[in-house]
């Protein structure tokens, strides 16, 4: 058995998994705050990433640009909620989804218009920090680390700060939350801001690997979506694990086929197979692997 091959595929699967996980995290953020899946999340992250690229191109040092982008994205997320989504608080769910699709195409189109569709290199801050090994690149290591840091930060925020508690309350039971003095509308906006900020980090982690163009997130959003559901849509930790599992699962199909020596699915259908597995899991565990089982009130 070719252990090196297996190991390589495993690390590459984990590295891809980290990408999915970071997008899944952003989706979980917005879901926690608004109970919606934001289909425009990926494009918002892509747009943030272009902002970072622009700042770096203007000569800002990486980390300055990094934190500026997070701040701008946060403000942008809040603005989108206050200017656009606010008007749809009482609209049917599907109307909101159409608004998300609208946002998706707007961001995609405008990014191409401003920055052109030419592929851009996005720098990685980790290249100088971690050593390059054959098995895993320095950036991939950095991504995993970053995700763990965000995850811890979010956990602490939601668990131990009054604001975090208020946000959760506003999402789960807006009426009661309002009665105890939580400003529900601003909590929603805050949720959008946080999701946009997490998305911005995700984008900046993804871009050095897949390179920056307006379709940066086109393929990744589905994986992020699947990861988030697999892990349990309301659980940030579960979403991250879901991402890693999906990444491993995908490459696992290739490894197994290579070891057995037959190609049934191959690279062409590995995504399909991975999704079927995810859906099968969800059929038997509808709240995801690590999600809380929600009891519906009749």
């Amino acid at each position: 058995m070719n252990w090196e091959f297996v190991l390589h595929q495993a690390t590459s699967g984990l590295a891809n998994g980290a990408i999915y996980a970071s997008v899944a995290l952003a989706l979980v953020m917005i879901y926690t705050a608004t109970e919606h899946i934001n289909f425009a999340q990926g494009e918002m992250a892509m747009f943030s990433c272009y902002i970072a690229w622009q700042l770096i191109d203007w000569g800002l040092p990486y980390w300055v640009a990094f934190f500026c982008t997070i701040a701008i994205s946060f403000a942008g997320g809040v603005a989108i909620e206050r200017v656009i989504l606010k008007r749809f608080h009482n609209a049917p769910v599907l109307a909101v989804i159409i608004v998300f699709i609208g946002l998706l195409v707007i961001f995609n189109s405008i990014a191409g218009w401003i920055w052109s569709t030419v592929l851009k290199q996005f720098p990685s801050p980790f290249v100088d920090i971690f050593p390059t090994t054959k098995l895993v690149g320095p950036h991939q290591l950095g991504v995993v680390l970053t995700i763990l840091i965000i995850l811890t930060g979010l956990y602490l925020f939601f668990r131990f700060t009054p604001l975090g508690l208020a946000m959760r309350a506003a999402a789960q039971n807006p009426v009661s939350a309002r009665l105890v003095g939580v400003r529900v509308n601003w909590m929603l906006a805050l949720g959008w801001g946080l999701a946009a900020a997490v998305g911005a980090v995700a984008g900046m982690m993804v871009a050095p690997i897949v390179f920056l163009d307006p379709n940066l997130m086109a393929g990744i959003l589905l994986y992020g979506f699947a990861s988030a559901l697999l892990g349990g849509i309301s659980n940030p930790g579960g979403a991250v694990l879901g991402g890693f599992i999906l990444g491993l699962l995908e490459n696992g199909i290739i490894v197994v086929e290579n070891l057995v020596g037959v190609t049934v699915f191959g690279n062409e259908l590995k995504l399909t197979v991975a999704l079927i597995v995810v859906i099968a899991v969800l059929i038997f565990k509808p709240s995801g692997l690590f999600g809380k089982v929600r009891v519906k009130r009749v």
């Binding site: 595929q9 851009k120 163009d213 393929g219």
Partner: protein, 408 residues
């Protein structure tokens, strides 16, 4: 002497008569729908929206080129009206907007419609309507069939031929190579793959140890690169679009895989593919080219390049100077202009096809030195020659002869 003089006299007299009789009564030329004394209407489709919108800049470049032509007085005194429609790379939409161009806008011809599936969708219609479908923007090898489709003509060297050229070079220059191929799982990837197989021949095909595909929706091709490496391949044909090409080059470099590396022309841009992937990983990569790479500094002093830059700045300022699609649009528009000029005052569709099929040795400023456009009544493949180049330092180095593979 006297005979020739008499002939000359007769000639002038006839011309004079013709001028006086025909001149004021009828327009100065022969026309089909879409052309007049003042105007030539050209239709075009491009994906300005959707995932393929990166190609949209070709349409904008062509539009910008015709703007320049019009400012300089037009083609034989006629202004070009260039009507470009968005089809989002969706064949049903292409059919719809092409019918709009032909039946509502009544264009004289349709030019540089983009993509193999969209062009396949409209080919039958164009030929039934007898409207030229000229210089289509796809590398499939099926556009040069004057017998079946006398109204359709390709332009660029086809992927099939390019694949064959790499295969032949590989067989000649590397003994007992173990070959790996990475290809995009669609018509573009399959065209290259087919040509490559053909070039390798039955014996050569046995040398392929790994043949893996990816989907455009895949986030990365890392896993595929590892698969090819693990099979011990030492030659690699990289059939990928820019994003995946850069990923594959980078990943191969990172895991220390150094095969003889053929990169398809689609992704041979220095600053949008090789630079992001890392110059250190790009050394020695081979590709075949027919256009000048606008990001390759070896051309920066050349007259043709300088003219192109000046045009970009003046007419296509919103376009990106690094984008080789802008070179493509510029050059294909020049080809179209050449044909329309050659038509003179006979702007009938039949004459346009006739002129398009009689281009002889046309060299254009942004094509590589020595590459020429040639067509004939039986040869509907305008550009058939390419030259191999190897990446060295931060630039492509041309080597070997101009290779003219036999298409069709």
């Amino acid at each position: 002497m006297s005979i020739s003089r008499r002939k000359l006299m007769q000639g002038t007299a006839a011309a004079g008569v013709a001028a006086t009789v025909v001149g004021p009564a009828i327009a100065k030329g022969k026309y089909d729908e879409g052309a007049t004394d003042k105007e030539i209407k050209i239709g075009h489709t491009n994906p300005y929206s959707g995932p393929a919108s990166a190609y949209g800049t070709i349409g904008k470049a062509i539009d910008a080129y015709f703007k320049k032509i019009n400012e300089e007085g037009g083609i034989n005194g006629r202004k070009v009206t260039f009507i470009s429609q968005d089809d989002g790379y969706s064949p049903p939409k292409t059919v719809e907007v092409i019918r709009q161009l032909v039946e509502q806008e009544k264009v004289l011809l349709v030019f540089n419609t983009l993509g193999t599936p969209p062009n396949t969708a409209i080919q039958k219609y164009m030929n039934a309507k007898k409207v030229p479908q000229l210089f289509v923007a796809t590398g499939a090898s099926k556009w040069g069939m004057p017998k079946e489709f006398p109204w359709t003509m390709g332009w660029q060297p086809d992927y099939n031929t390019e694949g064959q050229i790499y295969a032949k070079y590989l067989l000649a220059n590397k003994k007992d190579a173990k070959i790996a191929v990475l290809y995009q799982n669609d018509d573009y990837g399959k065209d290259y793959l087919e040509g490559f197989h053909k070039g390798l021949g039955d014996a050569g095909k046995k040398q392929i140890v790994s043949e893996v595909s990816y989907e455009v929706t895949d986030p990365t091709v890392d896993s595929q690169v590892i698969q090819m490496h693990s099979k011990g391949a030492d030659a690699f044909f990289n059939i990928t679009t820019p994003k995946f090409a850069a990923q594959a080059i980078k990943k191969a470099g990172e895991i220390g895989w150094k095969p003889m590396h053929f990169l398809n022309n689609v992704s041979a841009s220095v600053s949008t593919v090789l630079k992001p992937a890392g110059f250190e990983f790009s050394q020695g990569i081979l590709t075949a080219a027919y256009l000048k790479d606008p990001t390759d500094k070896q051309w920066f002093g050349h007259q043709g390049y300088l003219e192109w830059v000046e045009w970009m700045k003046k007419y296509h300022a919103s376009g990106n100077i690094q984008d080789s699609f802008n070179v493509y649009g510029y050059t294909v528009a020049q080809t179209m202009t050449h044909v329309l000029k050659a038509c003179g005052d006979d702007l009938t569709r039949a004459n346009i096809m006739k002129q398009a099929a009689s281009i002889k040795g046309l060299a254009l400023p942004m094509m590589l030195p020595g590459i020429k456009i040639n067509t004939s009544a039986t040869d509907f493949y305008p550009i058939q020659s390419v030259q191999l180049q190897r990446f060295k330092g931060e630039t492509w180095e041309l080597f070997g002869d101009i290779l003219a593979a036999e298409s069709a």
